[in-house]
Symmetry: C2
Subunit: 169 residues, 2 copies
């Protein structure tokens, strides 16, 4: 098992697109999730934990029904609410995000950081990364204020090409 304190991938700002030891990346995220939920008293039950593991397998977004079919294969319930509830829990706990544009979910790559990222969605390989969005959010709020609008949450999702997909093979 990799040492969590010696990992180039985990230090990368653009984790999803950077080459990294993803097995370690996922393992580490799961540990972090355990710690975070333990700290708040939230219960990372088997279903919820398994859903998070499934999301962590790749830096992509999975639809609720994709998750569900995986769960069903493994002996968990096979009805939509099973998946939706676990996903809702993970999103509420900040362990996963919902990607509006894809009607899909992805594991958070910055667990515990109280962040509100922009999502970078590659239309080539369908990977999803998180990017800092502080400046962008501020800009939106400035414009909104001009209209007297009070922003509570802002969804920012960029569609385009990741580094790997930009260059044709």
């Amino acid at each position: 098992m990799p040492d969590p304190h010696d990992c180039p991938g985990c230090a990368a700002p653009d984790l999803a697109f950077a080459a990294h030891d993803h097995a370690h990346c996922a393992h580490d995220a799961l540990n972090r999730a355990e710690a975070l939920t333990a700290a708040t008293g939230a219960r990372l039950t088997p279903v919820r934990r398994r859903v998070l593991e499934i999301l962590l397998e790749e830096h992509k977004a999975l639809g609720a029904y994709d998750v569900l079919s995986r769960l069903a294969q493994e002996g968990f319930g096979n009805q939509p609410p099973v998946a939706y509830r676990a996903l809702e829990f993970l999103v509420d706990q900040g362990l996963a995000h919902r990607i509006q544009r894809l009607n899909a979910f992805t594991a958070c790559t910055h667990m515990g950081e109280d962040h509100a990222p922009a999502f970078l969605i590659c239309r080539g390989c369908h990977s999803v990364a998180e990017a800092a969005a502080t400046a962008a959010r501020a800009a939106v709020e400035t414009e909104a204020a001009r209209a007297g609008f009070q922003v509570e949450r802002t969804t920012i999702e960029a569609l385009g090409l990741c580094p790997a997909c930009r260059v044709p093979a």
Copy 2:
């Protein structure tokens, strides 16, 4: 019929939330749509025109099925593709926008301006306004570039309270 050259509402930057003569606002938008489609050769057929009129009735987003039921009442086809196709046409022509967060559509308030707005969605009254998003987009692209990601389109949708809904009655 109002004079298109004397309208306080049409000059407001935050048209949707500003008090304005909406009958004129909608009428004017429809004229603009006619002119724009005529100029490009696109055909604003009866269904498409009617869908735009429906969207223009309020500064809100309407689901495809809401639009469809209106169409059906008026003797147009009552199957989903009728609505989805007309809506797709309007979006392609820049006469309407799709609001991802709501799975719904709203008439564009800046037809012909080649804009890429942020949407301000009021959770109180469900009205939707467009706000300038040039700075926000630039910020997103800057961050994306740091990850080597090439942005093609960015969806920015803010949820919050409009001026009218901020103050409790």
